[in-house]
Symmetry: C2
Subunit: 393 residues, 2 copies
């Protein structure tokens, strides 16, 4: 054991990066381009409340995404909150996944809905359609799956279940910007899809998000609810929130939109490089591309099988951090472990075996366009060396 | 009647402004200063999630406001939503005012709380402490007053009631930035105060807001809840939201802070000019300064007594708009008239007589530092001429 530690310390000393290699870095538009946009905002003296940049960004984004009904938001969480309110879901239960960021469960709380956690598929880490029907009861209102890491859910299977039981489907598409299935956006499925444009995402508006609806009337309602439910100066249609995307965000998004395809291409290269190297290390699992899917390479998750790899995910995480490589345990802990949800019947770990195992094994490695292939190579070397140290000594 | 119309048309033609004179305009920092801040954000590559500008702004703002525990938010509505959650108020009733912006009632909805509307005082348009106790029942959890137009509520009376009944007090201080009572901020009173820094406010961070708490432990909880309830990488303390103020907002606020005292001084002059002119027009009521209060002159409301003035508020509003003067009917309709609240027992207009009357008479005139005294003079002249036309013909 102390021999491990010595070897690991040597490794960390030898390969420590001067600057932290974070799990992601924001894609930044050209500074002077953005400063020009700012100057325009000063000319307009219009800072928020659906200004000219909002409207231009909305149009260009809809073209890029190939969608017809879209409302921009100040962040993806507020978007998802409004999605439920737009569908008038404000009581009862919604079936969702525990393997996601906190926001997914929290928006249910804010809409007075009890989350019902469903286990996930071992291949994609998305909600397992085969386990949904068993959780449907008289109070179930909707299914809210997440396209985890941007990998599409089994949307056809989910649609069938929803139709059979008369349920809404709201997709948390926070990770799925730019992802296509058979050349169409994932938002073709379900009643509403919610995107996130947070700085840590592939595509960002600093903070931001959007809801894509499947009809004009629904989008009109979403738009109103994103602005306190205000329909006009004298009419408030319902309890909305302040979900407005401001002009600084919208103008950032406009510039960012020009960069996104290039960013995806760079990330694809990095994913290929990671996979090629890591596939031969025992106990390290990577995800493959799915036929028919245009991926966005938003994240690069690996799963560590401690027995084969020689040590567990938590220890690997600690060692990498010693070397100034900062991966993230997305998603650990599961939402079903949070104090506010752990007492729910559906939070019982026995019924969430795949999610529990995945959460204990997963580690997201650094992934962003500006990551050099040298850095990727060193990260892979490290992961290999750590394995060798643990299986040898 | 048709003679009125002719005279009004003549007036409107003669005095129409070339550009709309809006009820307010945002105070803008120097463009090149802000562009320099943007350049710094590009250097840091830190766009949100409590970056260096957030921290610097927080410190400087706390100094300016003379407060010790403050969390910044992406908007005032999200701040107020979190205030209730921070105090664990997520059921029952909260006593509040109907004479306010939609956000005040809506945050109660989002926290699963029934609003109980209380009538207002005829002098300040703030909640009437004399009418609160009658509304307290077994399910009452808190009182949530609003410092309307920045005029302080009768905080001592409210405090006595709250203490007697064991209730929390949350102040919606959206209008009250910079207001002091006996040289102290209004947030000295109550459990939490929520400020708004929206572009239409005296002091703005594009969109933004803040919660001021009266203890470190409470502020720690608020801070966590403003970021999904995340306490650290592996601990989520409760169902928070995405309420984070980003770096574009914080850096704007830092520059704006240098302008705020000058902006208040300019607005004070405008308020004095408005009052001096308007006080002699029959049927037009203005509000006076209150002894011991440092006002912020955030709004300039007038009340129109149709009988004395010659025509009513709605007609005055229409005529001014013909002249390209765009006042606002803040706050009409009352929150108790919205479809989502009008069926509540406390929404009965009979119990809200002062609020009903005020909402039918009030009109907020243009008010912002860059408003010239010539424009103010023309607006006043218009209001006088309209009166004269209606009482003469």
């Amino acid at each position: 054991m102390s021999e491990h530690n010595d070897k690991i310390e040597q490794l960390a000393t030898r390969h420590k990066f001067d600057e932290p290699v974070f799990v992601t870095r924001p894609t930044m538009p050209d500074l002077s381009d953005y400063q020009k946009s700012i100057a325009k905002i000063w000319e307009n003296q219009w800072l928020t409340n659906y200004g000219p940049f909002y409207r231009q960004f909305q149009v260009e984004l809809m073209q890029y995404m190939q969608v017809e009904h879209l409302t921009l938001f100040n962040n993806g969480t507020n978007a998802l909150m409004v999605a439920l309110q737009a569908l008038r879901i404000n009581s009862g239960e919604v079936i969702t996944t525990p393997f996601t960021f906190a926001a997914t469960s929290h928006v249910l709380y804010w809409n007075n809905i009890k989350p019902v956690f469903c286990d996930i598929e071992p291949e994609t880490f998305n909600i397992d359609p085969g386990k949904i029907e068993n959780l449907i009861g008289p109070d179930t209102k909707a299914i809210m799956p997440v396209h985890v890491y941007g990998n599409p859910c089994d949307m056809k299977a989910i649609e069938k279940i929803a139709q059979r039981h008369g349920l809404f489907v709201i997709y948390d598409a926070a990770h799925a910007f730019g992802v296509q299935l058979n050349n169409r956006p994932l938002s073709d499925f379900g009643d509403i899809s919610a995107y996130s444009f947070h700085a840590t995402k592939l595509f960002s508006t600093i903070e931001g998000g959007a809801l894509v609806s499947n009809s004009k009337s629904r989008n009109d309602r979403v738009h109103s609810l994103s602005n306190f439910g205000i329909a006009n100066e004298e009419t408030v249609i319902g309890p909305g929130i302040n979900g407005k995307m401001n002009e600084m965000q919208a103008s950032f998004g406009l510039l960012e939109l020009q960069l996104v395809e290039n960013e995806i291409a760079k990330r694809q290269k990095i994913a290929i490089q990671y996979r090629k190297f890591l596939k031969d290390i025992p106990g390290v699992r990577t995800l493959d591309d799915i036929p028919g899917v245009k991926h966005n390479y938003a994240y690069f998750p690996i799963l560590i099988d401690a027995e084969l790899y020689g040590t567990d995910r938590d220890n690997l995480n600690i060692i990498l951090r010693k070397c100034n490589i900062i991966p993230r345990k997305y998603f650990y802990p599961l939402c079903s472990h949070y104090p506010c949800y752990r007492s729910l019947a559906s939070a019982n770990p026995d019924n969430l075996a795949v999610a529990e195992k995945t959460a204990s094994q997963v580690l997201c490695l650094p992934m962003y366009g500006a990551l050099t292939s040298e850095t990727v190579d060193i990260i892979c070397q490290m992961i290999k060396s750590i394995h060798e140290i643990y299986v040898t000594f």
